[in-house]
């Protein structure tokens, strides 16, 4: 606890230190969780918010963006839950042709009353994080801590210290969950607030699940979201995951962690559609613990205004014979900034690793910036790993070709951009969810065309 006495560097960090002291006893979990929180809090205070001097945060200065620490959202009241329930359908309409089971979070807190808990099939267990921590065993706490993933990351440590809200979802071995589970996150408050959620999804051996995380936000308030999803995928299990973060207001910060570990012959396919909104940091830490597994991390970033979106991936091949794919497309307009950092680490024993990483960006304005930084660290000698990154403008010849055939310039641009970004969504296996994501991307492009 020595670090806690070190002088805080910024007023936001001082506020967080005071908040932690105040909240420490009321945060969910027993002694083991409290120890985990304390250790994480010390680690955070020792490091402070990441700055550009931290290599993994070279393009995103979180310390600067966190000029103040907003008050932490408390669990919503019964009245607030009723109010959110009333606007759920309009704020976050159901996806077309997708009969999903909904898990609703309000300000990061799991609200069973708004969720499809009664429809959950056998073999699917869903609990709030607080309940899970209260009754959970050591294995659950260890799973939540996701040891070895994101170690040393101060933003993740902060999430660990304050984690509340969120849910724990367990899929029993061999269960194929036919209906996608859709986690819908709403914000209730019009006041600026901070949300620290952590959720855990565990797939037993041979289980199959499609998980969609959809965040909605319409209140125009400033938020500081720091949320983590931990995915444990056992032997022969398959998880498809689609994440659509909210477009928060400018001035907001949004750090979204994904911590995934795969056992043998497992499959994980994750897609993120980021449409900006303040500062967004998507960080994925993924590790292959078992052989012959496959993971794909893909996404599209559609950014405009002063959006800042940072996608940082660390993929660790520990076990042999695994395949990793990273595939990202970015469109940046106006003054937007995009970051792609992908690091694939192949440990000495991870022979026959097959890795391929790509990031492609189109800049639509002189003021837009894209930083691409693919990295490979290979310590095994029998692997196939490659990466490619491009930054370009719309092709003038293609644009003229379409215009000369009668398409007005904005429509021609929209058509080419649509073709460019839609291709990333081809990686979503579920057809109806893919169509939904493509429609969301089309909406962004149409709004740009009208502007």
């Amino acid at each position: 606890m020595n670090a806690r006495s070190a002088p805080p560097q910024t007023s936001a960090e001082a506020k967080i230190a005071a908040d932690y002291v105040g909240a420490r006893l009321s945060l969910p979990g027993g002694h083991a969780v409290a120890d985990l929180r304390d250790a994480a809090f010390d680690a955070f205070m020792a490091a402070g918010f990441p700055t550009r001097r931290v290599e993994a945060w070279h393009y995103t200065d979180l310390k600067r963006a966190m000029s103040e620490a907003l008050p932490i959202a408390s669990p919503p009241s019964a009245t607030s839950i009723l109010a959110q329930g009333a606007r759920l359908a309009s704020l976050c309409p159901r996806m077309e042709d997708v009969d999903s089971l909904r898990v609703v979070l309000v300000d990061g807190h799991f609200i069973p009353a708004l969720s499809d808990v009664v429809r959950l099939p056998q073999g699917v267990a869903l609990h709030s994080l607080a309940d899970a921590l209260a009754h959970g065993d050591a294995a659950l706490i260890e799973a939540l801590a996701a040891p070895g993933l994101g170690q040393g990351d101060a933003a993740l440590a902060l999430n660990t210290a304050f984690m509340q809200g969120g849910f724990v979802l367990d899929i029993a071995a061999g269960v194929d969950v036919v209906h996608p589970i859709e986690v819908v996150s709403l914000s209730s408050s019009v006041a600026a607030q901070a949300i620290y959620g952590r959720s855990l999804v565990r797939l037993g051996a041979g289980a199959r699940l499609t998980l969609v995380e959809a965040e909605a936000c319409d209140n125009g308030s400033i938020e500081q979201r720091n949320c983590a999803l931990v995915c444990q995928i056992a032997d022969d299990a398959t998880l498809e995951h689609v994440f659509v973060p909210a477009e928060l207001s400018q001035g907001s910060t949004h750090v979204a962690h994904l911590l995934a570990s795969l056992q043998s012959r497992a499959s994980f396919n994750s897609f993120t559609l980021a449409r900006g909104g303040g500062l967004v940091r998507r960080q994925v830490f993924l590790r292959f613990d078992g052989d012959h597994s496959k993971a794909q991390l893909a996404g599209a970033n559609l950014l405009k205004g002063r959006d800042h979106c940072d996608t940082t991936l660390i993929v660790q091949h520990v076990a042999p014979h695994c395949e990793s794919r990273e595939y990202f497309k970015s469109v940046l307009d106006e003054e937007a900034t995009g970051v792609y950092q992908g690091k694939v680490i192949v440990a000495p024993g991870a022979q026959k690793t097959d890795g391929a990483m790509k990031s492609h960006a189109i800049l639509l304005s002189d003021g837009a910036t894209m930083n691409n930084k693919p990295e490979l660290e290979i310590f095994a000698d029998d692997v196939v790993c490659g990466h490619g990154a491009t930054v370009s403008q719309l092709d003038e010849d293609q644009l003229f070709y379409a215009q000369a055939r009668g398409l007005p310039k904005h429509d021609a641009e929209a058509m080419l951009l649509e073709a460019f970004v839609d291709e990333s969504a081809d990686r979503i296996e579920n057809e109806a969810i893919r169509a939904h994501v493509i429609a969301l991307m089309g909406g962004w492009l149409a709004a740009r065309r009208r502007a």
Partner: protein, 249 residues
């Protein structure tokens, strides 16, 4: 009718079109021949409205309307069509999607009702059949992986569907073998119409054996230096451009 009067145009400060005048009457096929670098492709771009070219003097009128005041898509809706020397590949956009978007954009610009999907499909299928374009090509991304001949055939299909009043064929013969050339030329000839005129840009006389022009113009250093009938093309084939290029100097 297309009328170009005393056209001067440049790109990046470099003068390419240098006082060019040319009239193509309704129903006429005019051929422009000239050596490399004479400004033939630039002329096609300036007529069709490509950005980046600055017209410093002169005018281009299509049926009396000043094309230079319109952007490329408006010119297309007005009836200008450019068949590209190297048709562009558009990955991620199927040929069908592209055709429908272009046809309906033009109709919308002219204040006409857009085609319904069945109506559109019927037209495309019929047009494709006439040109021997296989249906599966229409479902593939536009021009992606098409051979040189297939790309040119696709250009002619687009031309037939968009029904321009003034079509420019820019080096349509390049990259085509004789069989492909004949198919493309047949497609163009089928579109001959008293109300439609063509400007055929070519290096070689060969294309003009298949698309027989009414007039032949020799271009050099950004102007028309000689105008004649179709026999002028044969003369050029025999003697080269030497005799005419000198006149422009």
């Amino acid at each position: 009718m297309l009328e170009i009067r005393n056209l001067h145009a440049e790109i990046d400060g470099k003068k390419i079109i240098n006082g060019l005048s040319l009239t193509v009457n309704d129903g006429e096929i005019a051929a422009i021949m000239g050596p490399n670098g004479s400004g033939k492709s630039t002329l096609s771009y300036v007529i069709s409205g490509r950005e980046g070219y600055t017209v410093t003097d002169g005018e281009i009128l299509l049926d009396g309307a000043n094309l230079l005041e319109m952007d490329a898509s408006v010119r297309a809706a007005k009836g200008v069509f450019l068949a590209f020397q190297y048709p562009l590949e558009i990955p991620g956009v199927t040929t069908m999607t592209f055709l429908k978007a272009c046809m309906n954009a033009q109709r919308k610009a002219r204040g006409e009702a857009e085609f319904s999907t069945p109506d559109f499909m019927k037209r495309v299928r019929a047009g494709a059949e006439k040109l021997g374009v296989p249906q599966d090509m229409l479902r593939r991304a536009l021009n992606v992986g098409f051979s040189g001949g297939e790309k040119k055939r696709m250009e002619v299909l687009q031309m037939s569907l968009l029904e321009p009043t003034f079509a420019i064929l820019d080096e349509t013969d390049s990259g085509l073998d004789i069989d492909a050339l004949r198919i493309v030329a047949d497609g163009v000839n089928a579109l001959r119409d008293p109300k439609r005129s063509f400007l055929v840009i070519t290096h070689y006389q060969r294309l003009l054996d298949y698309i027989v022009p009414d007039t032949v113009h020799v271009m050099s250093k950004g102007r028309i230096v000689k105008t004649g009938g179709k026999e002028l093309a044969l003369e050029l084939e025999a003697n080269g451009y030497r005799d005419f290029v000198g006149e422009a100097a």
